[in-house]
Symmetry: C2
Subunit: 309 residues, 2 copies
Amino acid sequence: MKYAIIGCGAVGIYYGGRLAEAGNEVHFLFNSDYDFVKQNGLNIKSVNGDFVLSDINAYKDSSQMPKCDVIIVCLKTTNNNLLNNILPPILHKNSIVILIQNGLNLEQELTQSFPNIGIIGGMAFICSNKIGKGAINHLDYGKLTLGVFQNVSEDIFSEICSDFENAGVPIEKSDNLLHSRWKKLVWNIPYNGMTVVLNSSTDALMNNPSSRQLIYDLMLEVIEAANYCGANIEKEFADQMMVYTDNMRPYNPSMKLDFDFARPLEIRAIYSNPIKSAKENGFIMKKTQVIEQQLSFINQKNLEKRGNL
Amino acid sequence: MKYAIIGCGAVGIYYGGRLAEAGNEVHFLFNSDYDFVKQNGLNIKSVNGDFVLSDINAYKDSSQMPKCDVIIVCLKTTNNNLLNNILPPILHKNSIVILIQNGLNLEQELTQSFPNIGIIGGMAFICSNKIGKGAINHLDYGKLTLGVFQNVSEDIFSEICSDFENAGVPIEKSDNLLHSRWKKLVWNIPYNGMTVVLNSSTDALMNNPSSRQLIYDLMLEVIEAANYCGANIEKEFADQMMVYTDNMRPYNPSMKLDFDFARPLEIRAIYSNPIKSAKENGFIMKKTQVIEQQLSFINQKNLEKRGNL
């Protein structure tokens, strides 16, 4: 299998790095880090053991890359519009795209431009931060949940999962991608937004009784929405996620980091799409809407500050 | 009529100052400003004309004050617990208390300690800021809505209203205090909380489409809650309040100022009490709850910063 990594941030570098370290052929598409990485390679600090990849296949333009069998997309969803240009040069007729991203309906969106392509949805349960050019710090966890969306055979899916597992990445195979995506949202919707709106880390939100209750209320609303959409999640999953977060070390979710660095927030994928899906299925996510609207205000102010608008 | 002003901030100084300037006998209770005001009097900048009251009846302890006929309470509702000590020395058996405060159920709370006292509820529609010791800047508006809560005769009520009107304060007599209090909340619940949570002035919130929609959604939720509680407010009142705010000059509501100066936020009166009343009448204010919980988190962090906890 020939792998491509599109989007070399904290997640892309980690999973691509693991695959490459284990001997797989991996081609990395970089943006601003290209020159540095071409010279210095990748530097991965990890709770599971640090490693350096001094000689990697690095590109700054996908037209220079070979056709790949598995294209792992770890872009911010706010950049998914770039895929229309990035993907065509590296696709052959059996290429498979894995979207390791947070949010809902990303696979459906991809089929608008690539209707028949093989698609796997991926969710990373990982605490990993970018700490420099081509350098990340993997702090905790690391499991990848993968589920076929369309046009991927059982054999190929198993082969990909094995490649990850042989590279030290625990894989959970999902036979219900919708269920898995909504389960991830039960965590992402409260914590991504609340750490931004209240400008706080997860532990501060968990230690205050009011914000803790709001987190829990949001989880229950996401579960209710999920169930309207046919995802079938038990209420008790909210309690499990509270315990899971209590046991995490204090952590800034990706949206909080995007906020701190005045990058665009992933509001559409994580908030607007779920709100829309729930509404289409007869449920109004009232509390989640408040967070979405607050984030949209903050996002605009943040981008104006950065001068990106 | 002998008047007392309890709580000499931007609102208390304005209305007390107007009454005194018009020749009424007014007794002012001060806290930290006492020494300065005793020497220098009150300094009132106002769109309706500046004035100075160089010689006023100032006190730092209510036990030094005479018994008064009308006691105007302009404290922050977070300090209403102090009334149990402040009021007894200045009450005679026909004294009337006017609560010029934002929020709900304040009159009911007062009757817990003073069950049979005459009570008028008051709502100030005024943009006024404290700018120094004994000094305020009255920027805009100034109307006072007054409604009898209990045990005030029509004659006495009219006499009080006339005193205000003769002092240049427009009065709107309300014959339905519950209705008037909820109407005020249609403005206060969205703007007080959102200017704090999003750390913005009213005009910034109105100019962004997402926060503007959230403001409007919150207004509709408050109106729905009000109607469950029997207050009978038309939906169109939300549209009127949007226009009213669009036409206001950019303004920081009192809660935003409290936040900026790390003072306690009036969460109980403006949020918790309405949420509780609505719930008792069969309606859950889901969006307002989110704001309340966020404010509670911010309030605690703010007071910790100030070292008040």
